[in-house]
Symmetry: D2
Subunit: 443 residues, 4 copies
């Protein structure tokens, strides 16, 4: 449990106290066979461990908890007067179209909101200089998009001037903005919220967090992650065939994971075929008796082949040149650890005259652009429904999360403060070590 957070950080902002009746007809009583409106003060515990809870309570410390989300009986926006904007930002992720479709369907059919605009190509879509027209979204024109990968709206990396964005929202009379994007996008969204507040506007900004790496704090699962693991697993199986297909064959698969290796670790568990998993959370060296390359040599010579999975953010400290460019989103541009390892392994094996072959596979674009699998498709719909409930109720500066089997709301600032990473002393990483047989440390 990270004790750097206080319960107060998890309070969701609201636009105001104005309330109209929700157009969704639900129930307030149990036992009538009809779903109930969300009660106002439902919260989900961060840590369901009873022992930890009792320790906190004995110390008089309020446990961290997250606001539960769901349909509210009284909402902030009058559906007939509400206009909604949707934008997708950053790299592709399976499920983007499912979320867009889910938002539109929920807005039209449940809340009777029928003015929904899609901004094209990320935050660029708010800036007239780019010349991107917007798209009117209707149940008809998005009917089949959930079967396709990519994003119907297009995307772009990078932030745009916050004042310009809010100008556009204001001019277009947008009341609700859904931003579907990652870390940078959410920071951008928070900037938009601040500008909205500065101007005293009543615009709700709700994020649906998009991180194929599943690295957002306080969120158990982000959309696209399961699809990514699924496709990565197929690639790993094929890479295993490549490794075994040659004497002392080494296959290296680079998977997504800038600061967190969840895809690499989970796919390794799913396939049971990798011998080494290198993730951004671990530190390994390439030279010295216990180094990765020495361990790899031994394993390869013993078994005639090896399969290595490496997260894209792993081993960045290894590069001689420690200057990194930034991309349009302001993210550090990582150097290619896959190619680097390939070369270093070749050097290391050559030094000991170990004949070998290396195959390097980087499937990331294939994964990012794939359609959502069934599990993510279902999850995206539910995220979208919850996002609409939250927005219509006037919540703002918040993202939709999922924790302990409940959909939740989290303030944007708390989600972008730190990354969720693999706990190297936790169950997941230990399962990986058990499965691969790799040493705890390769320094």
């Amino acid at each position: 449990m990270k004790n750097t957070y206080s319960p107060n950080e998890f309070i969701i902002k609201e636009l105001g106290t104005r309330r109209v009746n929700s157009p969704i007809r639900l129930s307030e009583v149990d036992g009538d066979g009809i779903y109930n409106y969300l009660e106002s003060d439902e919260r989900i515990l961060y840590d369901p461990n009873l022992k930890n809870l009792k320790t906190l309570q004995e110390q008089g410390i309020e446990p961290i908890s997250f606001e539960k989300t769901g349909p509210y009986e009284k909402i902030f926006f009058d559906p007939s007067k509400t206009k909604v904007g949707i934008v997708t930002c950053g790299g592709l992720c399976p499920g983007l179209n499912n979320v867009i479709r889910g938002l539109v369907m929920e807005l039209f059919y449940r809340y009777n909101v029928n003015r929904v605009i899609g901004f094209k190509y990320g935050y660029e879509g708010f800036v007239s200089e780019f010349g991107h027209s917007y798209v009117e979204l209707t149940p008809q024109n998005i009917e089949n998009i959930h079967t396709m990968g990519g994003t119907f709206l297009g995307s772009s990396r990078g932030k745009q001037d916050v004042e310009t964005v809010v100008d556009t929202l204001d001019i277009l009379n947008i009341n609700v903005l859904f931003t579907i994007g990652g870390d940078g996008t959410l920071r951008g969204a928070h900037g938009i919220v601040e500008e909205i507040e500065k101007r005293g506007l009543k615009i709700s900004v709700i994020g649906i967090p998009k991180t194929i790496d599943n690295d957002i704090n306080f969120i158990d699962r982000s959309f696209g992650f399961e699809t990514a693991v699924s496709i990565a697993s197929e690639v790993i199986k094929n890479a295993h065939n490549e490794a075994k297909g040659a004497h002392n064959g080494i296959a290296i698969v680079k998977l997504m994971g800038r600061q967190s290796g969840f895809i690499a670790a989970t796919a390794a568990l799913a396939t049971q075929e990798a011998n080494f998993v290198l993730v951004p959370e671990t530190v390994f060296s390439l030279e010295g008796e216990k180094s990765f390359i020495e361990v790899l040599k031994k394993r390869t010579v013993d078994k005639s082949h090896s399969l290595v999975i490496v997260g894209e953010g792993a081993g960045q400290y290894l590069f001689e040149d420690q200057e990194f460019d930034t991309d349009a989103s302001g993210n550090l541009k990582f150097k290619d650890i896959g190619i680097y390892l390939k070369n270093k392994i070749a050097e290391g094996f050559k030094k000991d005259s170990i004949a070998h072959t290396i195959k390097y596979i980087d499937p990331s674009y294939i994964i990012r652009s794939a359609p959502a699998n069934a599990s993510d498709s279902r999850f995206c719909i539910q995220l979208a429904q919850q996002a609409v409930h939250a927005a219509m109720a006037g919540k703002t500066d918040a993202v939709v999360g999922y924790w302990n089997q409940n959909f939740t709301l989290l303030p944007i600032p708390v989600t972008v403060k730190e990354r969720k990473q693999i706990d190297l002393e936790g169950e997941l990483w230990w399962s990986v070590l058990e499965t691969t047989g790799q040493p705890t440390s390769m320094k």
Copy 2:
């Protein structure tokens, strides 16, 4: 929250207090980069809702919680003297081979237990009359089974005489029995435990619950379910094509779900294409103004096609003949609601002279026999690892569960007391109603 359960029902039985050191070398301190042994009194709250918790605490009621599982520093069985049996029972389910493989790998490579026996064809394998020889399981002969559907050990339905089973365990000097099976299998396992206790034997019986329907109480997720939803979703998409391919085309897809419609409901959400979902939890009628068939008529004529998903246990009360056979497992043999609906729909449409075509699809054997997808593959490994931890620690009469993001142990009796069903007043069902547009009630 079901108040028919008391916290005491969730206490796990142990074989005794004898303790030897675990062969797994872990840590007892945080911060050293090594996974820690499980502390002895870790429990996971059933209900993470803070408001409910406070209400209970105000009333002085102990909340229900589940024992957390993990690797124990001190264990009951001495690995070098331990012999293990594994059996798979009941119908096929994606992931059976992954669980078998996970158990064997964990036993051999982590606990150094190298005598593992597979009983063939379910509980029949314990009864010499059937003449099924057993299989010595080794990391070599199960190396690739996780890529295949079905069960490496074969299976059978039905229980066998408990005394005979325990005789076999005793004669073969089995110390740990892993039973992978559903409801009936778990009841059988509990009977075995009782017989073991009667004889004063020290044999641990640990279940890995197998229910493709995901209908075991207090368990968030059971293996095979995600794979089932995934394949069912593909079938639904094809069925949708069949429905649209003919004027007033109606496609009926029957999915697994004897008492619980989770597969039907989840696949409907994942695909967004069904117009009606009928599950065992719902009551609908076929005649009368608001009946399913009348609603179906209207929808079909309006839109020229309809897609119906029906859980196999739905509408069993509709059959004129209310006598049901039982199968070898003692389960009621359900009558075929899919065929029944097909005929009743044809009758109903004919009465109103509505030209139509009906396509009926029952993909259940295709689903049950498929290999586990990546998500289930990973989950099965983790279930198997936890099951081995529990067994080696001398836990017994227990199953491995998963709840609020933690692996747990549950006493067998509490898991077979009632089925987990869709809450018709809950979020899942309401999402289904939103997605299909079907009325809340079709009675």
Copy 3:
């Protein structure tokens, strides 16, 4: 070589000699790097066996050959004045949408024909009583249909009055009709041609033969077949798991194939897992020492499981009741040989007290409604392009075929005269016998 056909039967009808320039700009010379127009008298030999050819030539017999198809320099219809109709008939088949899309794209972008009408729900679409409106087909509204199964236009079984159909063609000023359908549809198309000729109209009727069973004479490959085999193979693998999952487990997979067992035979070869393949071409008995059921008993008891593939048209002579209904298309409605076998096997095994379980799987709707795989997608495009070339050149009463690595044209009458069936003395069937190990005869 079937000697019941004469070369004259393979002459393609033409609407007339009027000729305009094709809008497609090709070449007439080799070596300029540009595709050449089809020369007028290119024909493809039916039998490429040199020995057979020489025998015929020695006897002074003209060998059978098929007209090659391709782009013509001079065409019959003036694109700017041409209006085209498309109709899909009969059951679903993977690739229908690909063919529709291919036709529309070729017409619009190569021939500049921009009036294309889709008739809804098969031949019903020509009959005003059914009230189906037609669809204007444009590159925009069919852009993505090739990724989906089913048919964008809907379909229906059965023929409609030929005079009414031609009335509709005449009233709507249709110059070219593409009919995508099977045996019955092609007979219907021929009837339409006769009526057109009777009235002296200049309407070209070109068929794209749709038979998932790949059972059209003189055509090596029909679209949808490869996809069908591919999906059937997955089902067979799962069925194999079901068979092995129980002691003396028997899995029966019924596959499409009314008069021809190509899908069953080819999928058996592709999977290498079936022990018995029963097709419409074979005669087997269920009683007697050498009967299928006795052979099955032996095999099942020896190996503890069996996998049986049966074509839907197999063993129809076995039914006590030899009266068969006909469906709307006029096809005999086959009785369900799968269920029948299941029952007969159960009886047979019970008689000898052989404990066993039987799983019966009928995946046909799942297969028919699937999207085309890559191989069929490519093939459909090419069929569609050739169909457009033929139609624009004024060919009529013809279907597009594929033979000896060339696209061909065949007169409709010659293709519906007899079915292509598995030659029980041929290479394919013998490969099946080798793979399954089943006896040559089970009578």
Copy 4:
């Protein structure tokens, strides 16, 4: 029709005239329901075009034809005294395991040959310095390999000393060697044949040609190609999503194809989504008004995205540095045209200040290592069966082919003389031009 070949080049060598009865019991008469032995002088015409044939015959020129293969009544090798070797060489290709399994099954179960040896890691396996032990192949140990990608035997690139190879064959008393490999492997096999002849040994060498590129002359289809197109098509769909996901998004997919672009061209047809296909057969420039980059600019700006498929051997003449390394197989090591194009496109767009993003995808290892799809699985079995027939009959220096719907035998020398390439004046390429809309020439 290439006139550089004479009919004599297509005569298959035989080891001698010794004849024993085949253990396969077939028939010599039609009509008895049993497959017939192959007659000795069956040949399949190369060109089935009747017009071309008549032209040749008028000129008194014997048309080119290929020996048909099949089961022979009299064979050369006595099965009980025959020992067989199998080797797989070169890069991976879907279907390698299916061919291995097919050979072993046919040898054991049809010909009663039960001494089959697998050489490990290609031709290295014949050279004791490498220390690779060989594998005894039995129906048991290869039972499930057809479901897996890669090669059960391992592979390597490059040739080994022919004398050493034949020494090994001689010492191990191998009578038949099956080599599964590409161009280089077949040249190697021919060298082995020559050495065998020099020594007067009676060893048959039969090749099963492995070229994922489908570029062997006189062979319509090689195994693995259909699987490759199928996986490439999925990648192309995802790449299309990447292209559309960004403003002026350009996706480049590099596909296999060293000297022939069949995979690129066929996958482009199958998906209908590429805007440019660049293959080794075409010449295009990167600068100048009509150059590829200028056409790409126009298309990208017009439509906001572009999808480019490039064969690996395309545009090699573009590189400033025209020195190419060779790999162990003696093949020229191509420079990476994908990366090169990516950079050149970026430069070209930057020059005109066109904002854009480029995604480069190279899926080749994922494709090569995948399991065979259903179509290739079936084809591999049949190739293997034919290869065994040929070898047992004492044919040598030959490969198994497929032409005009018949399995054939071709002398190795004639197959390695030239590559099969896309005819830029042929139907396939023209279909590609039609589908992509790219200009005929981009020079």
